[in-house]
Symmetry: C2
Subunit: 384 residues, 2 copies
């Protein structure tokens, strides 16, 4: 049905009416007291969401822009950088680092498997000369739904002492209890169309004091992505360049809703939706792509065998106007991904599971009792 | 009055309801046939607006991001670049070029005066070794309302043969008859919150075949601003990174409105609003900051003597909820700027003039008959 799309993809995520209404307001001047006050409130709420006292800077960019800024502002050409990758986005950050002439060393895991924290420990402990300047890690790998063990890896980076931790939290920020200050993470990048519950167009980078010290001598060229400019103006509740005013309106509304819900409730909701989705997928006799132990609270990837992933996606889209994500790169056609990130409720997960069940029946996936998925999801949701 | 702001600044410009309604719609997936079709229509309309067959690429960024991309994609470290500057934005492009290690040579004019095309001719003609790789020019200098003689300067660049022309058309695109292909301009940067009539958050770069040839060997580091990535995906009606979906919805609506109005009518309207504004300012006994011969169709800067610029701005804001722009940098407090760019009608200019007259009466600006401004503006608007 036209105009009836239900987003169950890892971004853009569904947007609350309150945020859409704010988005559709007439813009105001961005160099006014009124907008400055809004920036102040937004910046305070961003720190709350990041659980940090660090600067959280807002850019007009995609998440990739934020991650590029997070890498290039704190390093110099030839610097040794360790990049963890077990998916499309880990690979992308390595490409960014290479584009700027950084000396990139990869720690990889198969797509669908988590990064091994021990591999980071070994490399970091062996680096007694402290030549490693940064470690880049993707927390929740959007392409596979795998959550890496950030706590363990960041622990090894802290023990190293010199290297900065640069984290892609694009699909974990706002979904997972990411304690930026408690863990001592230096740089965290994220994007608005994910846990923030608003459309794409804004990206965020939090920056620690240690990273700012590195900034002072880092020499990679930058202007639009120069975070020093953003820091300077953020201190005055302003921006270095014209900000996407209407997206700020929406962000302001969405952050208020998040504060009303509370961090604990937000994380509990995402965890519940994850568990319900995974229980249902298992009950429907479909193989999960990643293990429970490393399951992202934002995305569940499914690798069906008896039916084709694209057939399920296609039926859900055509018959029920539900958008599921497909696989990326070599996983194209092999997996489908259910997003349960941001403004997603228990009802949404039940709906998606019901639709997948209907599709499985139509596709002749047998050996499983119709309704088994819903029953399993309902049990998790009822238990809370 | 709360919620009654009328924007008469050079950006953000007023946004039509049709574009706001589109902006406030629920986002759809950006990797869908539906969004791909929208990108295709938007890209075709952007070429129409730019009067070009060149690629017109869309970035999630401010106009500065577009201009930085327009500079760094086609040059290598140490390249000799001539930057024209007669205002804040000309200065900014020099800063961008310097940040990337380019060898910058300035051609400057006093703020409020136009760049001298002869200065460009002299430098370009003297460069018989063809060491100048690019000339960067700000067409409509937003900070002063001065329109530079792009046709003449680009003519000299064409005669040089080697140098690329890189043009900041942020406040001229969509307001001035900028014939990109007829003039043979290589790179044109612009931003959504100006002539495009939508909020900030999108930026545009058009790129000629000659510039793409330079791209092939240009070695400045880039990833998010790498225009090659945007070109590759634009050919498939896609984007390299998650696009600001809702701003695309608004852009699509605004471009349709512009196509309905027609290029000739759009340019005639801006020219009429400029002439009406300038006639009114003169009739009110206020000195214009720039000469008629180099007046931007987008912005009129006024340098009042008997009253303070900030007092006029303040009264218009407080009493009539009309936002005028102030001066920037050393012109702060010395000028005010009236924006008549984008979704601005004859009525809007009449309104702004009437409000300025009311403020002048209150501020005791004398020697001018009340109503003289409106009479002068009306005469121009009636004549068409």
């Amino acid at each position: 049905m036209d105009d009836k799309t239900m987003l169950m993809i890892p971004g853009p995520t569904p947007v609350p009416e309150r945020a859409l209404t704010a988005l559709g307001k007439h813009p105001i001047g961005h160099r006014t007291g009124e907008f400055s006050a809004l920036i102040g409130e937004v910046n305070a709420a961003l720190k709350w969401l990041h659980q940090t006292e660090n600067d959280v800077l807002t850019l007009a960019a995609s998440g990739t822009g934020a991650m590029e800024a997070g890498i290039i502002n704190f390093l110099s050409a030839g610097d040794r950088v360790v990049v963890g990758s077990n998916g499309k986005f880990g690979d992308r950050w390595a490409q960014v680092a290479k584009a700027y002439g950084l000396n990139v060393e990869m720690i990889e895991a198969e797509w669908g498997k988590p990064l091994d924290p021990e591999a980071f420990r070994a490399v970091l402990e062996a680096d007694t000369d402290k030549t490693i300047k940064a470690v880049v890690i993707t927390h929740s790998e959007t392409s596979t739904g795998v959550l890496n063990d950030l706590e363990a890896i960041v622990g090894y980076i802290k023990a190293h002492g010199t290297a900065l931790s640069i984290v892609d939290a694009v699909t974990s920020l706002g979904a997972y209890d990411l304690k930026v200050d408690e863990l001592g993470i230096d740089v965290v990048g994220s994007g608005s169309q994910k846990g923030y519950m608003i459309p794409p167009g804004l990206a965020f980078v939090s920056v620690s004091e240690k990273a700012w010290t590195a900034y002072a001598t880092a020499n990679l060229p930058r202007f639009y992505l120069d975070l020093g400019k953003y820091r300077k103006t953020a201190a005055k509740n302003s921006t270095p360049f014209t900000p996407p005013i209407n997206l700020y309106f929406a962000l302001h509304a969405a952050l208020q809703m998040m504060q009303n819900e509370g961090l604990e409730a937000i994380f509990a909701r995402h965890d519940r939706l994850k568990r319900a989705t995974r229980a249902a997928v298992k009950a429907m006799g479909l193989p999960l792509f990643g293990a429970d132990e490393c399951a992202s609270p934002a995305i569940t990837a499914v690798a069906p065998v008896s039916v084709k992933a694209e057939d399920i996606r296609s039926l859900l889209s055509k018959k029920f106007d539900i958008a599921l994500a497909g696989g990326q790169d070599h996983l194209k056609g092999k997996i489908f991904r259910i997003g349960h990130l941001g403004f997603v409720s228990d009802r949404d997960v039940l709906t998606a599971i019901a639709a997948i069940e209907a599709a499985l029946i139509e596709l002749g996936h047998d050996g499983v009792a119709p309704g088994a998925g819903i029953a399993a999801a309902a049990q998790v949701l009822n238990a809370g």
